[in-house]
Amino acid sequence: MFPQFQNAFASNANLTFDTYYRCYPTAMLPGEERPNLNYGGKVILPPSALEKLSRLNISYPMLFEFQNKQTGQRTHGGVLEFIADEGRVYLPHWMMSTLGVQPGDLIRVINTDIQQGSFVKLQPQSSNFLDITNHRAVLESALRDFSTLTQGDVIEILYNDQVYKLAVLEVKPEDGRGVISVVETDLVVDFAPPVGYEQEMQRKQQEMAKSKVPPSVEGTMAKRIHYDELVAKGSSLSAHGSGSKLNGKGTKSKSPVAKIDVTKQRAPAALDLPLGVYFFGYPYVPPKNQADEADEDSNRFSGAGSSLRTARKHKKNSKRSSGAGSSVNPISVSD
């Protein structure tokens, strides 16, 4: 009816905050390096955004939806500071991957209301997340830097100089958009098995079954009585002392238990334990099956022979005698 008014309303009645900015990673923020900006869920907006927002009737905390117009991917987040250069918004790295944008692309920033969350299901992207001892404490401190969690996000958190990626699989309460606010809320967190977990378990089992090395090599008693040191002592007693090189440095003679064959040592070291102590952590020798013996037999008598014809060429090398006190027999010279 009143087209002028309509236009006026359209341009001046900024009832919502809905603008386009060029997005850049937080690493490009001028000033000192602030690495923990990258592992949060809050962006850096320009000061003009603050003015606009303060004039509007918005609910606090300030939460935004970020849209990539070309692909339609969306995510959500909060704002940390208003120190960005004009026309620019600085996002954490994971947010840029989630939106699928390159530095310098345009994204749409819309102020929204998001309801408080009660439940979230996370999936670690690698099984090193399982090595953390206290997941609750780690998440509590990391999620302090997040304002929202959107379904489909793969957020990155930093703990102990290690980056852990977590995918948000599910959020509650559901509102159609799949996003919850995590500002000052108590969340129930559920974990899905890390990506690649089942394959790893299978692999571990296969390894155990194949190698058949009992874990007792690293057993607690073996460590306590320094079994490997004793074994090394035995082998050093028997054959070699410590060698020395001409340049003055000695040779290193460290060999792990599994490699030293205790049965071959001439004078094994004594196991001087008090009475009543039983130790079972000896190197494991698997029982010989009949199948193995059959294989051995088939290979036993097929050696490489040598003939007299080549004896002249290898005169120098044929000086190597084949056994203790055997007469010159060219056929038995090892090739």
């Binding site: 089992q205 079954a209 058949k212 079994y227 074994v231 035995g234 094994p268 039983y278 020798v285 029982p287």
Partner: protein, 570 residues
């Protein structure tokens, strides 16, 4: 005046005054016989064939009054049965410090040593122990006749053993073998002990008169060269577990924690039917002493504070410590419940450390035997290992160590090594004389040569294998191996404990054998209301809750006291 006495052991003279009491004469006679002869066993007579007068009839009189005159010759006889009954059992099962004589003693007893042997030994000695043979192809006689080919063989016949592939004789068969050679040829007067325990220590107080070692040594007191051989006999042939439950509940602790466990086996020795003159150890109970368990080892804690009570209750139940059992199980990771086979012909059976420990335990539980000069020979203590067999199943393997091993341990000549299959010979040191140790081996040319055992030798020379099994009709002494009392029983206060125990004393529960559990009996003993005889009656009731046992138990006043106390706590 001088009185002369002649006896089986020889002549001796006693010099007394007529006014002396006869007691002095009797004392002198006792001295001659080695002090272990009670007065009532000594008989005197003027001539060996004439009537014998017991010494007790002379008590209180003086020598003159009793009718002894100067120069009289009396023949002294000692009543063996009375002596044996009165002789204290010199080798109780619980003695911890058995001193072995290391002097060259002039112990000229010409009779079997007076010791109280185990019941099973006495039982087997009465048997003739012959292998019956049926009529064979070579027999050319009738049904009722017997010839060389079908006459019964002695238990130790070498051809029979080879045929049956028996590697170790049973102890009594071995004894018969030795006795046949040493004592048949000799007259009944002199008796040579067939069994002798090896002793590899330097003998102190050598009669040659030189200073003891290390100042001086001669061939008489130094230990001779030792040749290690497989022991041809074994003291116990078989280990029987009264029910598979006994082993299963022992394994539970490994199943739950994955850590190894050790336990003492309590039971008794009985005749073993499947082996001629064989002995089996029947295990009724496995008790875990104080220990520190790890996944690759286990350490016994000394002291174990419940040891005295457990032994006392076991004795009341008629049980004694027959051996030790420990687990060596490592799951093979396949998820099927199979374990690694660590002990087999290619690796080791009993590691040198375990052999050393078992030798120690065997030295602490000597087996009393009247056929040995020292009064004991070997030990009936058994060592069992729970480990994986070739198929990966959990199996029991039972062993004993040879008497040579025990002697080597006592002389401090051996030490376990990091190689489980070899035992090392200790080095010569001041205070330790190490004789030559050799063993026989077939070398690469197929000849049997004597090899020096130093620095280390295979442990298999010190081991003896035993069979094991479970009875077809298990009749275990204890109905339940898992305690019916709550796990926090010891933590509760007096009223809580009494109430828990009272639940087991309800008539319906009693008839079903609620007391048939060692742990329950132990707690009852700890209460201190029942004394030793009561406990024995209770134990027989617990294993067999029949009417006569319950009647016997109800007749005992302490039992009624116990029931009243428990009743009042409800």
């Amino acid at each position: 005046m001088i009185l002369r006495f002649s006896s089986k052991r020889g002549l001796f003279r006693v010099s007394v005054e007529p006014s002396d009491s006869v007691k002095r004469v009797i004392e002198k006679i006792q001295e001659f016989f080695g002090n272990s002869v009670p007065v009532k066993a000594i008989y005197l007579s003027k001539q060996p064939s004439k009537e014998k007068v017991p010494c007790t009839s002379f008590e209180g009189k003086t020598v003159g009054d009793a009718g002894f005159k100067h120069g009289d010759m009396y023949s002294v006889t000692v009543d063996e049965d009375v002596v044996q009954a009165a002789a204290p059992s010199t080798a109780k099962i619980e003695t911890k410090n058995v001193e072995r004589k290391d002097t060259i003693s002039q112990n000229n007893t010409s009779a079997p040593t007076q010791v109280q042997q185990d019941d099973v030994d006495n039982e087997l000695e009465k048997e003739r122990g012959l292998i019956q043979r049926p009529r064979s192809v070579f027999c050319h006689h009738g049904d009722k006749g017997m010839c060389d080919y079908c006459s019964p063989l002695e238990a130790y016949d070498p051809k029979y053993l080879e045929e049956q592939k028996i590697k170790h004789l049973s102890f009594h068969a071995y004894l018969r073998k030795l006795n046949a050679t040493t004592n048949k040829l000799n007259s009944s007067q002199s008796f040579i002990h067939p069994l002798e325990e090896p002793d590899y220590r330097v003998k102190k107080h050598c009669p040659s008169g030189h200073l003891p070692w290390p100042a001086g040594v001669c061939t008489k007191c130094q230990p001779s060269a030792i040749t290690l051989t497989q022991q041809s006999f074994r003291m116990v042939d078989h280990v029987e577990f009264s029910s598979s439950q006994v082993i299963n509940s022992f394994l539970d602790s490994w199943r739950q924690t994955g850590q190894q466990r050790i336990g003492y086996m309590y039971g008794r020795y009985q005749k073993y039917e499947n082996v001629l003159l064989g002995i089996k150890a029947v295990v009724e109970l496995i008790i875990d002493p104080a220990q520190v368990s790890e996944s690759d080892g286990v350490t016994l804690q000394n002291p174990w504070d419940r040891e005295a009570e457990v032994d006392k209750l076991a004795a009341a139940c008629g049980l004694r410590r027959v051996g030790i059992i420990f687990t060596d199980l490592v799951d093979d990771g396949s998820g099927k419940g199979t374990v690694l086979c660590k002990r087999h012909a290619g690796s080791y059976f009993l590691s040198s450390l375990e052999t050393y420990n078992s030798a120690y335990f065997q030295s602490q539980t000597p087996n009393p035997s009247k056929w040995s000069k020292s009064g004991h020979f070997g030990s009936k203590f058994v060592t069992c290992v729970l480990s994986g067999n070739e198929k990966g199943e959990i199996e029991v393997m039972a062993y004993q160590v040879s008497n040579t091993a025990v002697a080597l341990l006592q002389a401090d000549l051996i030490k376990p090594t990091v190689d489980p299959d070899r035992m090392m010979v200790c080095l010569e040191e001041p205070g330790r004389y190490v004789p030559d140790v050799m063993y026989s081996e077939v070398n690469e040319y197929g000849k049997a040569v004597s090899v020096n055992a130093k620095p280390a030798f295979p442990v298999s020379f010190l081991l003896v294998t035993l069979t094991h099994g479970f009875p077809e009709n298990p009749r275990p002494m204890f109905k339940s191996t898992v305690s019916p009392l709550a796990a926090n029983f010891d933590a509760g206060d007096e009223t809580f404990r009494l109430r828990q125990l009272a639940k087991l004393f309800e008539p319906s529960a009693l008839d079903n054998g609620s007391l048939s559990n060692f742990d329950v009996l132990l707690h009852i003993q700890q209460m201190g209301i029942l004394d030793d005889t009561d406990m024995r009656v209770l134990a027989s009731f617990a294993s067999d809750p029949s009417h006569e046992h319950s009647a016997e138990l109800n007749a005992r006043p302490n039992w009624q006291t116990l029931l009243a106390i428990l009743q009042s706590s409800l």
